[in-house]
């Protein structure tokens, strides 16, 4: 009988293949933001291949900005069409969620990326080499630092315009990451945005060895975290018999009893779920930059070209927290009594370690790196709240944080001496005396990081702490305010240095940037002030966007 069906089955497959492999049903309109960015990225690769070298830069900048603008328009259209609330559902055969948190975070990522592209395109800061305007990226990434080939490339006026398609691919991955609704999509999205970022880190024009070192570190540690994630996915599949979020959640809740015969030995085995879930969490916490998975952050932030650092610090964090939220709130809410204590520990260690280690830093970029770790801790406090307020506060915090971050790194690109950007803190002494406006803008960003009232940082911090306190995590709030006090110390120290120290004779100068970087900084300041003084509209937006589709 069995052999008969097997033979018969063979014939049946040949006779009627359509029934066995249904054509996937893809809602193209609802995936438009991602598709636009992917399409533009592919187009940008073709631009690299076919457009003459001299006009590539302009075409690439235009293409990137246009793509991001239309992607943002698509997000707004979807949100206006009710996909953020009433029509929220899972698109693309259960692979991608189109719901409030996804759309909100996609909007933030696209805007942050657009502002970052402005800083990528800046060509007025570095002195012109052989009459060619240059940006922050190596003339030819493939040439060995210090070699003849490098000198030739510089002389010929080459520029690495590949950064624009790379950034677009990264954005595409980031757009899917917080929307991914099964573990495989999650993993693919992670790789799609990580690989371009590894490359982007390696292409600094100045201090190329440091930049390449940063890229290698980032790649190696990133590969480790991917491996953890993948291992975790395999274990969870063994537990649930599916990679779909909804299905896993059902199995966790115990509402699914039918057992896949192939997995009969493992399904429902709690050990697999706990270990697998922990490994997946580790992979995500790595991207978030939470202690103890934060080791890569300072080196990579310092070595990467500063515009890339800003982009990475803002957009990666948004995407990774989005994915973390969805995992914890959609897949593992039934397990919260197990993950909450662990996340408590991670949040406390992250807040304290970030703030304490930052105190000893002497490099602006490393300082901001540790500060980003501390902020990851604050955001985790909101994640732990496990309530709608928790989600909306995290969304709001990410919005506030990303623009401050990009703005702050954009200011870092302006302060230069003969060796390029002067990132050592001692060189920033007296900057307020020489360039009061630049120093004042940076001070605004620092005050926002420190969470001083009337800045976006305060609104965000208040939102997550309030959510955490209401969620019963009062102790986390206390640790949070203590680390805020420690963190305030080093932000203030930079302000002291800028305003109260006498400038040194051989100090750096502030280069006047093109309108591109100015826009990035102005957007940062505007968002900081508006979210600080009148955050209600954006809090509403985040509040409406705080329900996950399942």
């Amino acid at each position: 009988m069995s052999s008969l069906t097997a033979v018969h089955g063979l014939w049946a497959v040949a006779a009627d293949p359509v029934e066995r492999i249904p054509a996937p049903h893809i809602e193209y309109a609802q995936l438009a933001p991602t598709l636009i960015v992917v399409g533009a990225a592919i187009l940008a690769v073709l631009v690299e291949a076919f457009v003459p070298r001299t006009s590539r830069y302009y075409v690439q900048v235009f293409l990137s900005v246009a793509a991001l603008a239309s992607a943002f328009a698509a997000v707004v259209a979807l949100a206006a069409g009710g996909y953020g609330s009433t029509k929220a559902h899972i698109a693309a055969m259960g692979a991608i969620a189109v719901d409030g948190p996804a759309l909100f975070l996609q909007g933030v990522i696209i805007l942050a990326a657009a502002v970052s592209v402005f800083t990528f395109a800046e060509r007025r800061l570095d002195p012109a080499a052989h009459g060619n305007r240059v940006d922050s990226f190596a003339a030819q990434a493939a040439s060995v630092p210090g070699s003849d080939s490098e000198r030739a490339a510089v002389k010929a006026g080459f520029t690495t315009t590949e950064v624009f398609p790379l950034a677009l691919f990264a954005v595409a991955g980031m757009l899917i990451f917080p929307a991914a609704n099964d573990l495989l999509t999650l993993f693919v999205a992670l790789e799609v945005f990580s690989l371009p970022l590894y490359l982007l880190c390696a292409v600094a024009r100045r201090q190329r060895l440091m930049s390449q070192e940063a890229a290698v570190k980032y790649f190696l540690l990133g590969a480790f975290s991917s491996a953890f994630l993948l291992f975790g996915i395999a274990l969870v599949y063994g537990y649930a018999g599916s990679v779909s979020y909804a299905r896993i959640a059902d199995v966790v809740d115990g509402t699914v009893t039918s057992v896949d015969p192939a997995l009969a030995g493992t399904m429902g085995n709690d050990a697999l779920l706990l270990i697998g879930g922990a490994l997946i969490l580790m992979g995500l916490l790595f991207k978030v930059g939470a202690v103890p998975f934060h080791m890569w952050t300072p080196d990579v932030y310092q070595g990467a070209p500063t515009p890339v650092t800003g982009f990475m610090a803002a957009a990666t964090k948004v995407a990774a927290f989005g994915a973390l939220l969805r995992l914890l709130y959609v897949v593992l809410p039934g397990l919260r009594w197990d993950w909450r204590p662990v996340m408590w520990g991670v949040a406390i260690v992250t807040m304290l370690a970030g703030a304490v280690i930052a105190v000893t830093q002497t490099d602006v970029k490393r300082l901001l790196a540790y500060s980003s770790i501390a902020h990851a801790g604050f955001i985790l406090a909101g994640v732990i709240a496990t309530s709608e307020e928790g989600v909306s506060s995290v969304l709001f915090y990410l919005l506030a944080y990303s623009f401050v971050t990009i703005g702050a790194f954009a200011v870092v690109t302006l302060v230069r001496d003969a060796g390029g950007e002067a990132t050592h803190l001692s060189k920033w002494a007296g900057l307020g005396r020489r360039s009061p406006l630049t120093a004042a803008v940076f001070a605004v960003f620092l005050l926002a990081f420190a969470g001083i009232p009337l800045t976006s940082g305060f609104s965000g911090k208040f939102a997550v702490f309030k959510a955490a306190a209401e969620g019963g995590a009062g102790a986390l709030v206390v640790v949070g305010v203590i680390s805020s006090a420690i963190a305030a110390f080093f932000y203030i120290r930079v302000i002291v240095l800028m305003f109260f120290s006498e400038p040194k004779a051989d100090g750096p100068t502030v280069t006047v940037p093109s309108p591109l970087t100015m826009t990035a900084i102005a957007v940062g300041v505007a968002v900081t002030v508006v979210l600080g003084v009148a955050p209600q509209y954006f809090l509403d937006l985040a509040g409406q966007a705080s329900t996950f589709a399942r």
Partner: protein, 524 residues
């Protein structure tokens, strides 16, 4: 809708700050006059507030209420009681003098680059502080209060760290380092206090579901809002810690001598006479109003700390060699009196404490500003560098003496009334505390009179003092009104007590306290 008077009182200096900051580098003098003009406009508005306020009327008057951040449950709610009116009037009154006294304190040196505009910054920051202080006296929403309570640290920090005494600026690296140390210490102490308070503010919201002072007080009085004893105590401690740093109360006071010593005299006045008052004001309004039971629970400890402040501050003032640090320690002693009066939980004590806040502002301003004029003439803050000044500059010495006598609460000058009330109020309930506090008066006589004797009397110390010019017209213009107020309120304090007493009665009923028998008639 009526004219938003309270908003205007805070908005005028804020607008003035922005305009002043925008004045081009070359038009320095215009910036000064602009700042003065706006501070006088604020004073006029504050006078209107005082006139429109009816002492016998509602508890909070001239109220405004608008939705602000719905998600946080925050409303833009303003309203003043008598205590608030008195302190707004004090703030608005002192700022023009601060500006006048600091007229030349922030003129740029030749070494500065042409884009550095210290003068504009100095006066803009003063106005910004004024705006934020006034709005914190007006806010009846805890969150709104907190925002400005914290935000005012930033302009204050730049005022302390960015502008030192003329005698020390520019060349002296050491002085710059000390100043920056003082500014950072100021900020970290206050920021830490504020952040602890933030945790308590969030906790309050979680417990009470509202930030509105009036709602919470009403709900607590009606018994509809019950806060567990331990929670209330923790929240009280969170709030009190921030206010005790700001006030400052021993042992959280150590930032004050640094800040006042390194800042210019007008900024020192701003710190101690204006900004620190927010701390004691908030103890009355928020600690007692929101957490009456916990306040009573904490009273013994607070009283002991206040007594230590009184005696310790006075003892250290006696030992100071630096004029400005001496005034700072004297202020710590006086803040001890204010906190003693607040937590004695008698109506005389609390009326006295409120009057004390106003009078201490006036007397310290007079003493400190004249001390600043003196220091700017000789270029030294050390008492030992002076002697026989009254022979060369009799008017300066005379005004200095009146400021000093006001500080030691000489009868006939305003501080006497308030100090007397505080002592009477304390004595009625805690006789021992009253007796210990009296020590502070004796010590005050010691440190002020010794200060006067060493600097002003005796043989002329050296040539620079023999040729010391007397007070100039601008300086006289700053000091004379202050002295007039000190004498006026000393002889006739009734207008002030009339405004303050009803508010104190409300606070007393918040904490469900009655004056112990036999009643001691408040000075009317």
């Amino acid at each position: 809708m009526s004219f938003p008077l309270l908003t205007a009182t805070a908005a005028v200096p804020a607008v003035g700050a922005i305009l002043t900051a925008a004045v081009p580098a070359a038009r320095r003098t215009a910036a000064k006059w602009l700042a003065l003009l706006f501070s006088l406009a604020t004073l006029a508005l504050a006078a209107v507030v005082a006139v429109r306020f009816e002492p016998g009327g509602d508890r909070y008057q001239l109220t405004e209420s608008h939705a602000w951040i719905k998600d946080f449950g925050v409303r833009y709610e303003l309203g003043v009681d008598g205590i608030g009116v008195a302190l707004i009037a004090l703030t608005a009154l002192l700022i023009p003098f601060v500006i006048g006294a600091g007229w030349h304190d922030a003129d740029p040196l030749e070494t500065h680059s042409s884009r550095w505009r210290p003068t504009q910054g100095f006066f803009a920051l003063i106005l910004m502080v004024e705006a934020m202080v006034i709005i914190s006296f007006e806010a009846t929403d805890v969150f709104l209060f907190y925002i400005f309570f914290e935000a005012m640290l930033i302009p204050m920090y730049f005022l302390i760290g960015g502008f030192g005494d003329r005698a020390h600026t520019g060349t002296d690296e050491n002085a710059a380092a000390q100043r920056s140390y003082a500014a950072v210490k100021f900020l970290l102490y206050n920021l830490a206090g504020g952040l602890i308070m933030l945790a308590a503010v969030i906790g309050l919201y979680v417990v009470a579901g509202s930030f509105s002072l009036q709602e919470i007080t009403a709900a607590r009085a009606a018994g509809t809002l019950d806060i567990a004893t331990n929670t209330e105590r923790l929240l009280f401690l969170g709030f009190f810690f921030a206010f005790a740093v700001k006030a400052p109360l021993w042992p959280l006071h150590t930032w004050l001598p640094n800040a006042m010593g390194e800042a210019t005299a007008p900024v020192a006045v701003l710190i101690t006479a204006v900004v620190d008052k927010v701390g004691t004001f908030a103890m009355l309004r928020f600690c007692l109003g929101l957490f009456p039971e916990a306040s009573k629970w904490a009273t013994p400890v607070v009283l002991v700390l206040a007594l230590i402040s009184i005696v310790y501050g006075a003892l250290l003032a006696v030992g100071q060699r630096d004029i400005k640090r001496l005034v700072a320690y004297a202020s710590i002693s006086h803040f001890g009196f204010i906190i003693l009066g607040i937590f004695a939980m008698t109506s005389q004590g609390q009326s006295g404490a409120t009057l004390y806040m106003v009078n201490h502002g006036l007397s310290t301003a007079a003493l400190m500003l004249v001390a600043g004029f003196l220091i700017s003439r000789r270029g030294s803050r050390l008492i030992a560098d002076y002697g026989g000044v009254q022979k060369a500059a009799p008017v300066l010495a005379g005004t200095f003496l009146i400021g000093g006598l006001a500080t030691l609460s000489l009868p006939g000058l305003a501080p006497f009334v308030s100090e007397f009330l505080v002592l009477v109020g304390t004595f009625a309930r805690y006789p021992v505390a009253g007796i210990v506090a009296t020590l502070g008066i004796v010590l005050a006589a010691l440190y002020t009179l010794v200060l006067y004797q060493r600097t002003m009397t005796g043989p002329v110390k050296d040539e620079s003092i023999r040729t010391m010019p007397d007070l100039k017209f601008r300086e006289l213009l700053v000091v004379t009104p202050l002295i007039v107020f000190l004498i006026g309120l000393g002889v006739y304090p009734k207008p002030l007590t009339e405004i303050v007493n009803p508010a104190v009665e409300h606070t007393m009923s918040d904490v469900k306290q009655h004056d112990p028998e036999p009643e001691v008639e408040a000075a009317k």
